[in-house]
Symmetry: C2
Subunit: 400 residues, 2 copies
């Protein structure tokens, strides 16, 4: 029983040691037995890696069969050589699988500014193809890890007209995580598979809705990567009829898709570099979703709020100060702050509250920090994590 990208019918995966990251698997391959309707969203960072550019190009026809992912080298800021290496990777994979190069998507994650070791990739691709299996899903989720400490897999079953279908997924990412995914636009990588059948425009919409409400609402370190990618492959292997309009069938699919995406996004922030504790930032009473998310994101990325979360310090002044610098106008004199259930700040000023209870609420994991602007009806959440000495250790280490 697999719970990741091979949980849906008709998908196989494999992981091999290509030798990019010595002593561990570092190349993953995911393949559908049938052609898939496919959709992808990519980083909005201007410094897009070559794999992002090539994968977006390959998705233009709305179909794909396979995804090949290497860890240890981002193949970003590598110029023409990078583009050429990515195209060769896709072509070699396609050749080994017997499909078109444009049906292969490529992802890379690792150090920026280093070329792919193509000799290693060339040698590894046939081994990956030979190793494809349903059981390979879990191995693939391992192989795409960088500073992750755990593989991230999730799946959900759903039913349409009596036919049970599955959405499965895997993801990686622990640092440089503040996804801002848009059509052709961390390094978070997320791959979703489903045996549902769905038309491309609806798959695009579902991907944006699922990822927009989950991955785009987590931030580990505010640094949006050059390589962020979320891709979904729908192979229709369930035999169900094609979802071709919004309605109950689409909703059932989207519900499962969003649940898998949320599971993976929360696994990602939980496993963020050096993370000890996570919290949901709820911004209530905003006038617009954009206002709420901008304030939520500013709080979530504030080093002072992150260190307060780490210390279990209910220092709500830092929350209020971060909200106040978010670049969104609101009236501080009608703004409330809650730490968990403890009402600490009312109308922009301190309340009398039980400090021990507030400290306990700040130690809750996951925690919940609520800012109510009393300006409108919109409520949105962002997920944040604490800032720890381990984060500094992991990232201040000289690359070698």
């Amino acid at each position: 029983m697999t719970s990741g990208v091979t949980a849906a019918r008709g998908f196989r995966a494999a992981a091999v040691e290509a030798g990019i990251k010595p002593g561990r698997t570092d190349l993953a391959l995911l393949v559908s037995d049938w052609p898939c309707v496919a959709s992808g969203v990519f980083t909005t960072n201007l410094a897009k890696a070559s794999c992002v550019l090539v994968s977006a190009e390959h998705l233009r026809d709305g179909t794909a069969r396979a995804v090949i992912v290497n860890a240890g080298c981002a193949n970003a800021a590598t110029g023409r050589q990078g583009m050429s290496d990515t195209r060769e990777t896709a072509a070699l994979t396609a050749e080994a699988l017997g499909c078109a190069a444009r049906d292969v998507l490529v992802s890379s994650t690792g150090v920026i500014g280093v070329n792919l070791p193509m000799d290693k990739i060339r040698a590894a691709i046939p081994r990956a193809v030979a190793g494809l299996s349903i059981e390979g899903g879990a191995a693939a989720a391992q192989a795409i890890m960088t500073t992750d400490t755990k593989p991230k897999e999730a799946s959900r079953r759903f039913e349409i007209n009596g036919i049970t279908m599955t959405v499965g997924g895997m993801a990686k990412g622990a640092g440089m995580i503040a996804p801002a995914l848009a059509p052709l636009h961390a390094t978070m990588l997320a791959y979703f598979t489903t045996d549902a059948a769905i038309e491309r425009p609806l798959l695009d919409a579902a991907l944006l809705e699922a990822v927009g409400s989950t991955f785009n609402r987590i931030t580990i370190d505010s640094d949006t990567s050059t390589n962020d990618t979320a891709v979904v492959l729908a192979n229709g292997a369930s035999g169900a009829s094609v979802i071709s309009s919004r309605g109950a069938a689409y909703d059932a699919f989207l519900g499962a898709f969003r649940a898998v995406s949320r599971d993976l996004a929360l696994m990602m922030i939980r496993d963020g570099e050096g993370v000890r504790r996570v919290a949901e930032i709820v911004v209530k009473g905003a006038r617009t979703t954009e206002d709420a998310l901008r304030i939520g994101r500013t709080i979530a990325d504030s080093p002072l709020v992150k260190t307060a979360l780490h210390g279990g310090d209910p220092n709500w002044g830092r929350i209020l100060a971060a909200a106040g610098r978010a670049g969104v106008y609101f009236d501080i004199n009608t703004t409330d702050v809650h730490i968990g259930e403890v009402f600490v700040c009312e109308n922009g000023a301190a309340r009398v509250y039980d400090e021990a209870l507030a400290h306990q609420a700040m130690l809750a994991d996951p925690g919940r920090l609520t800012v109510d602007l009393h300006a409108g009806e919109v409520s949105e959440s962002m997920w944040m994590c604490d800032l720890t000495k381990e984060y500094v250790d992991i990232n201040a280490h000289y690359r070698t």
Copy 2:
């Protein structure tokens, strides 16, 4: 010989132990012997402390005589009580000095959401007034410190028509430092004094120019405070004629003012919480100043660039990635990156360079990281610092 706020003629200062921060001085008073033309700029944070609101109000008439500053309590998010406590602090100081309350400016720095201990303030004000002296400038610079490890004082002499004048200043701030000062708009506090005589509109312009090109271009932790304040008092005690238009005299004054402001701003980032190393981010070839500063600030606040600086890791991919997510459009394929004198990235792609030299350049203190967009003629600088475990230690500590 004093080098801070009492370096200019006609200014005296004092520091006393009010008991807000036990065992050290925590209340500073700065007074001019004559009425001053005065100007101030304040935090743009919506959550402005009561002292910011009251000081801005007191500056509306363009004059001031005194500034009283307490450490240990920010008196921010304290509602009506906070406003009333600030007004009482100004009134008591005015009474003891024999001037109008509106000629007293008030600043507070410390924990947010806690009321000023007014009994301690009331008892301390007369002692501060009694202790005023020219030598008190250095003591005042000590008393306003919070997590600063060193007092910050600077001064410059300049000459207009044969008369030598002085601009002096003091500042504090080590965390919650990303000044965004505007008219009525860290907790950085900076106080400038001069014995030059100058009309208010020109003093306003000089303050904006001096602070805008110095304090507004440093960032320690991206968190703009509720209490940031920069104030200048010009008492004309030099006897020189009043600067009433732009020209050579204004330029001489501005030159000295900017130099003092720059000295203090660089002292501040150097003494930032946990800071081991600082670097100048130079963004060249931008189309506009706003573009250059937005990219510079995004790089300067990037946790991954900050940790790379800490580790001496010439990880220029992080610099490029931070530039790419700044929200400013530029062509990554014409973008170059230099670490010190080492040219590491050309046209958005890795160059062949000497890794040992790049490592040395990344260890330079101050370092210099240059991004050249080749899009226009504008070049601007931001000053950043590294992110260390000490920063986490200082800020994750539970308030007690």
